[in-house]
Symmetry: C6
Amino acid sequence: MLTSPDLAAHRIAAEPYYRPVGDEIAVFEAAWAHRLPVMLKGPTGCGKTRFVEHMAWRLGRPLITVAAHEDMTAADLAGRFLLDAQGTVWHDGPLTQAVRHGAICYLDEIVEARQDTTVVIHPLTDARRVLPLEKRGELIPAHADFQLVISYNPGYQSAVKDLKESTKQRFIAIDFDYPAPEIEAEIIRREAGVEAGLAATLVAIAACSRRLRGQGLDEGASTRMLIHAGRLASGGVGLETAVNAAIVLPITDDADMRAALRVAINACLP
Amino acid sequence: MLTSPDLAAHRIAAEPYYRPVGDEIAVFEAAWAHRLPVMLKGPTGCGKTRFVEHMAWRLGRPLITVAAHEDMTAADLAGRFLLDAQGTVWHDGPLTQAVRHGAICYLDEIVEARQDTTVVIHPLTDARRVLPLEKRGELIPAHADFQLVISYNPGYQSAVKDLKESTKQRFIAIDFDYPAPEIEAEIIRREAGVEAGLAATLVAIAACSRRLRGQGLDEGASTRMLIHAGRLASGGVGLETAVNAAIVLPITDDADMRAALRVAINACLP
Amino acid sequence: MLTSPDLAAHRIAAEPYYRPVGDEIAVFEAAWAHRLPVMLKGPTGCGKTRFVEHMAWRLGRPLITVAAHEDMTAADLAGRFLLDAQGTVWHDGPLTQAVRHGAICYLDEIVEARQDTTVVIHPLTDARRVLPLEKRGELIPAHADFQLVISYNPGYQSAVKDLKESTKQRFIAIDFDYPAPEIEAEIIRREAGVEAGLAATLVAIAACSRRLRGQGLDEGASTRMLIHAGRLASGGVGLETAVNAAIVLPITDDADMRAALRVAINACLP
Amino acid sequence: MLTSPDLAAHRIAAEPYYRPVGDEIAVFEAAWAHRLPVMLKGPTGCGKTRFVEHMAWRLGRPLITVAAHEDMTAADLAGRFLLDAQGTVWHDGPLTQAVRHGAICYLDEIVEARQDTTVVIHPLTDARRVLPLEKRGELIPAHADFQLVISYNPGYQSAVKDLKESTKQRFIAIDFDYPAPEIEAEIIRREAGVEAGLAATLVAIAACSRRLRGQGLDEGASTRMLIHAGRLASGGVGLETAVNAAIVLPITDDADMRAALRVAINACLP
Amino acid sequence: MLTSPDLAAHRIAAEPYYRPVGDEIAVFEAAWAHRLPVMLKGPTGCGKTRFVEHMAWRLGRPLITVAAHEDMTAADLAGRFLLDAQGTVWHDGPLTQAVRHGAICYLDEIVEARQDTTVVIHPLTDARRVLPLEKRGELIPAHADFQLVISYNPGYQSAVKDLKESTKQRFIAIDFDYPAPEIEAEIIRREAGVEAGLAATLVAIAACSRRLRGQGLDEGASTRMLIHAGRLASGGVGLETAVNAAIVLPITDDADMRAALRVAINACLP
Amino acid sequence: MLTSPDLAAHRIAAEPYYRPVGDEIAVFEAAWAHRLPVMLKGPTGCGKTRFVEHMAWRLGRPLITVAAHEDMTAADLAGRFLLDAQGTVWHDGPLTQAVRHGAICYLDEIVEARQDTTVVIHPLTDARRVLPLEKRGELIPAHADFQLVISYNPGYQSAVKDLKESTKQRFIAIDFDYPAPEIEAEIIRREAGVEAGLAATLVAIAACSRRLRGQGLDEGASTRMLIHAGRLASGGVGLETAVNAAIVLPITDDADMRAALRVAINACLP
């Protein structure tokens, strides 16, 4: 067994910096009080992962995070038998560890996973609160402190790849979006270690790029990209080079779009 | 062998709360008398799982539930050989346990499973009442108390994914739908622990959302969602916030649809 | 080895009730005399499985039945190596058992299986009468009493999923359909234990539903469904409820079709 | 090792009956003299398998027959490692046995197999005459008496499933078709054990059905089907019943086509 | 380990007959001097395999040939772990043997292989000249005498199945086509052991068939087919029969095309 | 364990020749200072791999390169359990080695890999800098000197095969293209060992081919191809033959395109 019951490696020692933008902490705490499953909705890089880390710290629970992908199977969550000198030995997967020992389990971008992964969480998210390990013939009642959190990016979903209604209706939802300008500037100052003027310039640049969403850009610059640009600029590369490397080049390969972005960005530079 | 013959872990100790809405209990009991296979039809979150738990308790039989998914195979139901220090050892799957020891086996959303899963139940659902374990060369006659129950959501089925006629015709069917308003309010009062006025408000909200089904919503709010909203509201979050988090945000990502829903809901709020 | 050479578990002790409708018994016996492979054609629930059980009893041979499905492989029929404390040990599959020990092997809905399953039967169904076990390098001559029987539902086949001409032409065929009214009533009386008037009513109801085949119904009510309805009705549920649960609800989810069926059925009720 | 070097099980003891229809024996013998690979082309049930059995007997070589299918892989032909008490042990596949010990290897309906199966035969069918066992790192020079024969039904091939030009051009081809009437009658007399008049009637019936090929029938009745009908008729079933069971019912499920066939057949009956 | 370091089984003892048609030997030798990867382009049966055998003999290097196919994986080239009484043991694949011990590795019809096979050769075909065995965590520097040669038939490629630009640009290319008439006749005389007149006739027949390429024929007769026809004819079958079996029947199944070919061929016969 | 902690085999002993074309070294160094993930964008054969080798040498870090392909899975990067005489033993994959021991990990053409491969790098490329080994239940914090670099060819991407926005936004990007003429000539002189005149001629030829990009050519001649031509020409083959073998034949199979290329090239020859 590779896991210790206190899940020490999954406890969050220091408070993760998180800047609230609405009533998301109150809603999460009300859901936690009834251990209701929670779904975090919003675009990439806007702070969903940071929020769940913050809440796990705040509630004093270990956090087990799993990034879902389209080749992930139920066994990747629940566990599997591995061959050993003594024969096959069962190894709990990350979800089973969380269920058994009372962690918050965060399934990031759950909709990417194969359907068997989605179904395995059904009996955990209704009145039963059990995890059936079919391969072991075991029915694990969830620890009193177990809670399930998933994330979901509505902009990505298509008709062929979406959560089933019978899955969606099991979750309380909290909406996320990029923070308001002053808040975003505060986050960038703190995370990239830059002074206020540069942070404000980067927020202005982000606003430009986000207005181009749907007009040739799939997404605007995320808060994460602004932090990257801030770090590069504070590392001695010029601001224009930093913004080009951290924002313009990653966001699009289209020459016209890049030119348009640069014009808009130059207008924001000091 | 990980299973004990009395299937103790699968017995239901306390009566699961179930509020009948028609003659479903009489039909199930008549089917049980002849051990006829039963199919429960109806939308998500309307109480099918609770009903089968109630019937298992009422009839005093253990209940083995399996949530089907599109990667489920016959071996997940029937069992498989696992490698052990002594060589390969057979492990009964959940269906085989039910067949051998006389449980009710509930296959939830069977139509999601691969066809070999469907076919494995054929000889159990006609006069033969046997389960052939081809990998073991064993033919298990079903225990006198074995009964098979499956669920099926007609709203989901498409031409490419449906039960074969030769499977459908083996089952007695019972139809489910959301309960009538007074009954639904009674269920919410009991399950969410809220007083009658709030329960009635939530039922009125559900009615609004269900009228939008097919006009931009795939499904209206289920009874389960109303219970979630009740619990959040009783946890100190305001009613509007609770309804937003438990109903509006999970049910749709479309901004116009959300606005329409909120207008309709506000008209129901006290 | 899990199989005993006399295939005791596959012998049919008591005569299975079968009511002949034409010269099918004579044709089967003539095919058996030359051990010619036989294909049973016809819709679901009309008695093909019962017929082959009856013939196996009549001819005094063990019967090994395999329900084919689209994930079935040649190894599921022929056998496979399993790992044991002594290394890998070969386990005969159901077809190999039948070939070695002289059973009738019945492959139900063979067209559902993958093509390798179909091809494995070729050398068994021509002058060679051998089963090559390629994985063992063994060539098994069929026991003198081995015979192969397959079933096939012509209504299901599509251009993409059909038997190859080189497979079809290896079989003698026998056609099945629902029995004539008096015969069907006789079967229902005997199988459901109801009196003649109720049996006649159920046959009249079946006739109504079968006339709707192709006009919104994929199949009409099978003999099996009539027996289910008879059993429910004899169990104390009212006749209308019994017919609804055993016939109307399983056969279609379309509200208009259900209404039409109910009108037609009510006209038949006493 | 399950194979003995003399391939005793694959030697053909008695002369298989084969009635030549042209210069096919001379062409095969000329190809054999140079060990050139041979492809037998023609419809199902016209005698290709019987011909290769006859040639193997005539040339005194063992014959290893493999029926190809779309799930067959190169390993099914070449061999594989199996786990044993001593570790993994190599088992020669049927092609490797033929290559090592000098058999004629007959790959029936090769075009059905996956492409890796086709490619494995390339170095065996040019000047190299070697079989590389990549998994063993072994290069087996073919035994001096090894010859490769494949069959191919031109009527089945489609653009998506055909032999590659680089495969086709490695083979000498021999064309097969149904035999001339007197020859076919002679074959039926001998194989079904019927007298000349009945054989002639069956050949006349075959001619009718073959004229309908492409006008609703995929294939006409093969010689094999006529032999089946002859055997049933000689077993005491009436001739009309025998022809119906052995020819009409297997060949088509279309009611109109069956009626047309029966009219044509009745005109042939004595 | 099944491989000896001197790759004795892969050395070519006698000079393989090869008749040059241009500067292909000089180009190959210049590429060899820098160990540049070489791609041989041209239709089936025109001598690419023979050429690479000849060059391996001429340069005194062992030759390891692998025929690619669409189920070939990187592991088939690089090697894999196999289970042994001592645990898992690594077995070098054919490419790894060539890289380690300094052979010419010839990947025939590389474009048929899966993409992982193509990518595995990238670090071998640039300045790095290394083979990473990811499964072993080993980085093998290529032996000084290792060279990679691949073949490619431009006529076969489609948009969906082609080498990536980043693969193509790593290779020097040499074009092949059928040889000029006198050279082809010389090859046939030598390989089929026929006299000059018959060889000339066969070359004339080939010219006819090649003119029909694209007008109903996918490919004309290859040099290989002419050699086959020569061998059959020298084996006592008449020339017309030999040409029919070796060229007409293999090349097309279309009756009209066969008739046209035969008319053209008869005009060439002496 | 096959890996030593100092990753000696992955250290680059001698300075790899790299000719800078802009501020790419400064941007990479600024990203390295914060260990920001870097994406190298540009066409095949323009020096991306050489650049990352140069930077690894310059920064004194070991470099672990993995060429991605569409059959690559997360296990190929992260590692897997292998069976040993003592039972299953874990083997770190290349990414895990880099994370544990502080190497630069270069994932070449990452977009070719399956999505699970992409997702495995997410927690390594944000504030967490951890690699979860789900199969081992281990969470590896990245070594302080670990950095992730990926390459990406924008010309290849299609709508169905592209990085997800949530992946792209995690990387700083650096654009690459073919170098300016004088720089490219300098590179060719050095790498192919040819004098300045020939290098200039080859650069002129490259310019011609690159102008044909999008007019029948998918890509123009890369710097790599020019080096190949230089080496062949310096090996005694005439310049025209060298350019034909190294550039014209590999780049296109279209006869008209080849003729056009040759005309353009001849105009460049001295």
